[in-house]
């Protein structure tokens, strides 16, 4: 039963990632990515990482993708881009295949176990984050502040560049 659910979720994840790749209009790619992020959150929940699953929905699907959808709608992109370069595509596909052929046999033989009973609940992650990783936490908050200030300065409308 759990296997069937896992295969459905994994299939949807892969299908939505391919959807991001294939869709012609960038807005449809964005919606496919939102579905992909939801499915990744479901996979996190299956791995008992509850806080991360909720944080994924709040941060990625609820904030970052809203920003991307805003930008696509405001710039009124319609996706009439030039044909993709099939040479680059073929080259990267060959490279990815080679990488997989090297990595996957090693991975699959080593990790056929089921893993421990680790529960990623909010309290444990909070304790770890605020005691051992407090320095990284504060630096991350400064990083976000820098990103906010930078984004406002970069995208501000001045008298010279009013197009949107």
């Amino acid at each position: 039963m759990e296997e069937i659910i896992w295969y459905i979720i994994a299939g949807l994840t892969l299908a939505s990632a391919l959807g991001v790749l294939i869709m012609k209009k960038p807005l449809y790619s964005a919606f496919c990515l939102v579905l992909h992020l939801f499915m990744i959150a479901a996979l996190f929940a299956l791995l008992d990482a509850h806080f991360l699953a909720t944080a994924q929905i709040i941060v990625y699907a609820g904030a970052i993708m809203v920003l991307v959808v805003f930008v696509i709608m405001l710039l009124s992109l319609d996706g009439a881009e030039k044909k993709p370069s099939y040479f680059l595509g073929g080259l990267s596909l060959v490279a990815i295949f080679a990488l997989f052929k090297m990595l996957l046999p090693a991975l699959r033989d080593t990790f056929s176990v089921s893993g421990t009973n680790l529960q990623g609940d909010v309290k444990s992650i909070g304790l770890l984050l605020y005691t051992k990783y407090i320095y990284s936490f504060e630096v991350a908050s400064i990083l976000i502040m820098v990103a906010i200030v930078g984004a406002v300065i970069l995208a501000k409308r001045t008298k010279k560049n009013v197009t949107t």
Binding site: H50, F51, A55, F70
Partner: protein, 363 residues
């Protein structure tokens, strides 16, 4: 047996959600009429007569409901919505057009899974907690659902395929994400106060008395958080003085424009269910849930029933409060709205968080 209990819980909570949404729709129609000094809908079903002597009381009840406007709102509006033509504007895909109302309604009903509607009770040897899903993350899940609700508005705005609808949708999405911050930070201060993310435990912690006479309700311990949470919640549901998204349809066009029939009713149902959800959250976190101040409820199913009735009446009170506020106050201009969200509510909620954290450590 566990599955049957879960199924019954789902049916009860879902019916509660739908029932509250329907009550809100009726109070909106009739209550707004009374506030605006008119009578409102009272024709449908008011002339329901019969000669059959056995059915006379039934028809009399239907006549009473008709005069109160209940038949009109609950029955006629639904039938009207079902039979209207459902058109999709040219240039947008059918799928995305249908996705709009779905994304607006789906997170609201999913968030109802976390609401405990009655105290714990024991029946036939089974200890039952009337909460559909007892997640580890509790309140964070409701916050996640509030983040998802933005998509319904954005997709609906884009599907109108005209600039006014798009700008209206983007403005209302910007409003929703701005007020999410104040909502989240005031939620965090409540979590610090109660020391738990689970909504049931929050209510249990409010059943004690402080100083022997005052019930430890959230409204007495955190009045500022209540005000911020309520105002930010009303802005999230796009109601009350923050209904720039909806009211734009009176001026130029709003994000609702290209929707008719059942999809429009679905938007409305989602909006009223969100009003009921906000009321339920306010009652659970700030007003003691099912707690009557100086009374302890018995632990069996009678106590659960009494607790449930108390809870539902408190929720209905807050729904009526929101509807009365909506029909009383004029709406904000867009820059006033952004000023309130970013410059007043967010610093106030951060200040509240600081004070709560300091007091919690000191006491």
């Amino acid at each position: 047996m566990e599955w049957i209990i879960l199924l019954i819980k789902i049916i009860v909570v879902f019916n509660l959600a739908q029932g509250l949404a329907s009550i809100c729709v009726w109070v909106e129609r009739k209550g707004s009429a009374l506030i605006q000094d008119r009578i409102g809908a009272n024709r449908a079903g008011a002339y329901f007569y019969t000669d059959n002597i056995l059915l006379k009381p039934v028809f009399a009840v239907v006549r009473l409901l008709g005069i109160l406007g209940i038949v009109n709102t609950l029955f006629c509006d639904a039938v009207k919505g079902l039979f209207k033509e459902d058109f999709v504007p040219k240039g947008t895909s059918n799928f995305i057009h249908s996705l709009g109302p779905f994304m607006a309604v789906f997170p609201v009903f999913l968030a109802y899974a976390l609401i405990p509607v009655a105290p714990d009770f024991e029946i036939g040897g089974y200890k039952i907690r009337p909460q559909v899903a007892n997640l580890d993350v509790g309140v964070l899940f409701i916050f996640a659902m509030a983040s998802i609700a933005v998509y319904g508005v954005t997709i609906a705005g884009w599907c109108g395929n005209n600039k006014f609808s798009l700008l209206g949708g983007l403005r209302s999405a910007a409003q929703m994400i701005s007020y999410e911050l104040a909502l989240g930070v005031s939620l965090v201060s409540m979590v610090i106060l109660y020391g738990t993310l689970d909504l049931y435990d929050m209510v249990v912690k409010q059943t004690v008395l402080i100083g022997g006479f005052l019930p430890a309700w959230g409204i007495f311990t955190q009045p500022l958080a209540f005000v911020i949470f309520f105002v930010a919640g009303m802005a999230e549901t796009k109601r009350a003085p923050f209904d720039l998204p909806e009211s734009e349809s009176e001026l130029v066009a709003g994000y609702f424009t290209e929707y008719s029939g059942m999809k429009f009713l679905l938007f409305w149902l989602g909006e009223f269910a969100e009003i009921a959800l906000l009321s339920a959250l306010v009652v659970l976190m700030f007003f003691g849930g099912w707690d009557i101040p100086y009374v302890t409820l018995p632990g069996d199913w009678i106590g659960a029933l009494i607790g449930h009735i108390v809870f539902v009446s408190k929720v209905v009170f807050f729904c009526i409060l929101q509807i009365v506020v909506r029909w009383t106050l004029p709406r904000f201009r867009y820059d006033q709205l952004m000023h309130l969200g970013w410059k007043i509510l967010l610093p106030a909620s951060l200040l509240n968080l600081l004070i709560t954290a300091v007091l919690k450590l000191a006491l």
